[in-house]
Symmetry: C2
Subunit: 404 residues, 2 copies
């Protein structure tokens, strides 16, 4: 995959041609930008991946309905309120957001996708939300990507954007994205809100396939606290404005596009993990030598999810016993007596037992803003990488008083 | 079950007749009591439940072997070192512990069960361990239960003991137990070290059956941090010294015994949850109205395990959205629109949506040393209870620097 060229660029969701965006102040919870809008000047293929939580927020249900035909033109998002667990009015409110944006943009309501993030169980202040939607429509701009990325933040400390360009049959095409996510993040669903735009022309079935693969390798491999939200989704809109020959087969163009899409997802994934609530460093867990990819993913995610591992990373403690312990309860099958473990580039365990190593150097490996563990199971050829962060005092502080 | 009478008593593992115990200083990690021994003056039926982690510590493997015949007379335990992930010498060291105790007690080595708890991946200081075993044999006493319970502690802040008496066919019989467990505790295995003694005469097959049921309802429903240890086990020795007619059928005596055994396990379970690393309060999650017991357990454990719920309990925040969210990703099937939630005796959600409630009273409900959540799924007749604790600054502090 690494031979396929894509070039990083800037601009987030407004990097691709034909897209405008905005982030408007609605003051839903705080006085800040909290309604985001992304808009395509023409019809776009659309695909989405949604939370596996059976308690789904109203906007998730509405968007799943609106995206069924594989076509959309706008995404409207609010932060500050999840519009989840509020009874039947939840769906009415989500619909009202879509309708308001559709009316002002001159679109059928079904072409507007809706997402919400924030506190669960409190009714949306719809007067403020709708005036936020109005303001966002008025503020749409081809430079609005960053404002939109800012407006979807909750406990995030930084706006998360990514964009890359690729060549498809001599035509330059662009993929841009924004994500929000900091707490309540765990594998096995679209683990956050993420919105991706592209000016590539692609069949919506193939768009969905490429998105699924990308999510599986990126967003589904990130964990902050093991809690799977009611509101998560990853959406992609592909409007064809680049002028490429429409991708309708799994040809080289498809592979190029899928690789670049995954690169955007990966950059956003790592940004989410690094910005985990209270985190001081990104944790990357690499697993190799697994019998199956499924096993590799199980081990990588179990280690990245372990509170004990995460607390040790915070404490810069190369406590590899906790790593092999988490691998052992992950559900993957392997022989404990052939496991090697590395902290950064220092091997700390061989054949399931400890090696003498310099604690000082190991602490050094854990002192930067990124900690890397490598686990070699010596049980096959499959590998996987999971991302997480350390568990800190600030995580407890943030989540001990989120509502109030 | 509540009609069956058992009476709480004191004395821990030395409460039943025919058992002596000791806690000796071996200074394995710190200068403290860290080798425990429990001994039956006659042959006892024995049963055990062991960690499901595929990385099993050497003493777990040895004890699984020694208990196969359903007979044992002694349990020797050290804290301060887990004797896990140390290569082939681990099994040699576990065997040496059993052999030393067997030699001094005049038993076949197979009648000695071994357990260890502490840091993973460091070789045992066997000279100190073995002199600890020698000292423990010398100090055996019918009042030694508390010393033994003290010697198996690691990050525990209190020794955990329980004992009850029952009448079996006019004969008074006693069940006593001790447990250690504070971090690295999670459902679906014997989630800690727990040693139970009883002077009941019972067939080892039935003893195993009663233990399995008790563990399923108690130790397998407690979670501190979602990490499943390499060393956990629950052992029970039944020596028949009470003189009851040997239980060899599932008759009333069996039911009486099984109920009392579960009561001992429950008391130890709650003691472990309340003493979760850094915990300020016990969390009890009651689920009712589930379609199946499996569903009820899934929901109860997911809620009790959620970092977000646990942090909210620490912050005395009645954030019920996190409760329904955790229920939703638990894997249980239910209709989100029929869920009722109570914090203490205050209903905070009905039919999946929030109710107005006094935040002040809810905070009060979360201010004691025990927080109770009740979740009614209105989806059937099954129920379950899980226990946990809050997630605090001290958990992070303890686990950021455990090894050093």
């Amino acid at each position: 995959m690494s031979q396929i060229a894509y070039v990083e660029t800037t601009g987030g969701v407004t990097a691709p041609r034909g897209f405008t965006a905005a982030g408007a102040v609605a003051a839903i919870k705080y006085e800040r930008k909290d309604v985001a809008l992304a808009y395509s000047d023409r019809e776009a293929s659309a695909a989405g991946v949604f939370t596996t939580n059976i308690v789904k927020a109203a906007p998730v249900l509405l968007t799943m309905e609106h995206i069924k035909d594989g076509i959309a033109r706008a995404v409207v998002v609010n932060s500050g309120n999840a519009n989840a667990c509020v009874g039947p009015r939840g769906l009415d409110d989500a619909r009202a957001m879509a309708n308001e944006a559709a009316k002002l943009l001159g679109l059928p309501a079904e072409q507007v996708l809706v997402a919400s993030t924030g506190v669960i169980g409190q009714p949306m202040p719809m007067d403020r939300v709708l005036s936020g939607v109005q303001r966002a429509v008025a503020e749409l701009s081809s430079e609005g990507g960053h404002d939109a990325a800012t407006a979807i933040m909750t406990t995030d400390t930084v706006a998360k954007e990514a964009a890359v360009t690729v060549e498809l049959g001599g035509v330059k095409a662009t993929i841009g994205g924004m994500a929000k996510g900091s707490g309540m993040i765990h594998p096995n669903m679209a683990t956050m809100l993420c919105f991706i735009t592209t000016d590539v022309a692609i069949d919506s079935r193939l768009l969905h396939q490429a998105l699924n693969v990308a999510v599986e390798n990126t967003f589904n491999m990130v964990t902050v606290d093991g809690d799977t939200s009611t509101n998560d989704m990853v959406l992609v809109l592909a409007n064809g404005a680049s002028g490429n020959r429409k991708i309708s087969d799994e040809d080289l163009d498809y592979v190029t596009f899928a690789t670049a899409l995954e690169a955007v997802c990966l950059k956003l994934t790592m940004a989410v993990a690094a910005d985990g609530e209270g985190a001081t460093r990104l944790l990357e867990v690499r697993v190799q030598g697994a019998a199956t990819q499924h096993d590799a993913r199980l081990v990588a995610r179990a280690v990245a999810s372990s509170n004990l591992v995460k607390a040790a990373v915070f404490g810069k403690d190369a406590n590899w016993g906790r790593i092999i312990c988490a691998a052992g309860y992950s559900g993957a099958s392997f022989n404990p007596d052939t496991v090697d473990i590395y902290v950064g580039d220092i091997q700390v365990a061989k054949n399931g037992g400890g090696l003498p190593f310099s604690e000082e150097r190991a602490t050094e490996m854990l002192s930067g803003n990124q900690a890397v563990f490598t686990i070699d199971l010596h049980n096959g050829d499959s590998c996987a990488i999971a991302w997480g962060c350390d568990l800190t005092y600030d995580y407890v502080s943030i989540n001990g008083s989120y509502r109030t």
